[in-house]
């Protein structure tokens, strides 16, 4: 099961709103909202494909500029 740490950059002043939006996704845990329009979140999914899909979906969320994978683990658990 893959586990990833991601950094999400948002448009200026939108990070609180975005964190609310992304927290609604299954398998996404928001770990912190940083003062420079960035959000740190952890993503869990069943397969790498599902995970990539999830990251892609986060990309589509309103006011998200980029989603950056900072840590990725997909060994079997």
């Amino acid at each position: 099961m893959p586990v990833s740490g991601v950094v999400i950059s948002c448009l200026v002043g939108c990070s609180e709103a975005v964190s609310g939006r992304i927290a609604a996704f299954d398998g996404v845990e928001v770990h912190g909202v940083l003062p420079d329009n960035q959000i740190v979140a952890v993503i869990e999914a069943d397969t790498v494909d599902a995970e990539v899909k999830l990251v892609s979906q986060l990309h589509e969320v309103e006011d998200v500029v980029s989603v950056r994978l900072a840590y990725h683990n997909f060994e079997d658990l």
Binding site: G5, L69, A70, Y71, H72, N73
Partner: protein
Amino acid sequence: MDSSTKHSGITRRRFLKDGVLLPLALAAAGGGVSTLFLRRADARGFYLRPPGALEEGNFLAACIKCGKCAQACPYNSIRMSGAEAGVAIGTPHIIARETPCYLCPDLPCAKACPSGALDRKLEDVEKVRMGTAVIVDRENCLSLRGLRCEVCYRQCPLIDKAITILPRHNQRTGVHSIMEPVIHHDKCVGCGICENACVRDKPVIVVMKSPPEQKDYYEF
């Protein structure tokens, strides 16, 4: 002549000789001799000898300090030690950080040795045992910090034998691997090319007489 010596001639020449020059001479000679004997080996506790050198005790017994090995080295890697070497004065050694041994396939230095201090029958450079490389400062090794350095590995004349690369996961970045240089002491000839090539100010990989002592029998 005798009478003059007894009276006045004694003064200046005698004084000069016995009072100043003789003590000075004794001090110089004594100082010279004692520096020869008091200091021994370099800070690392051993001299990197040319390829084919006998074990240090035997080497010192057999070396007659003729310098032929140094003259035979095409890279001027071999130097003759000076007074600072004590008992080993005048013996050939290599300062790897300045010029390592490049392991000429025909080993001209060993062939030049008249007295058997260097084994002239040595044919295979892979059988040379001058010492072994050791990573002495893991904290400052760039490769161990995840950077793509591994200069020691790529420049090793016994690449993939004496030094291999063990990749492992870099926990910090999560997506890169740490390419760890691993030294195999049974294959390392101790030529010092890695020590020479290390890009840190103070080389983190150096040649030592033998790997640091192990207190168990695990072999990694």
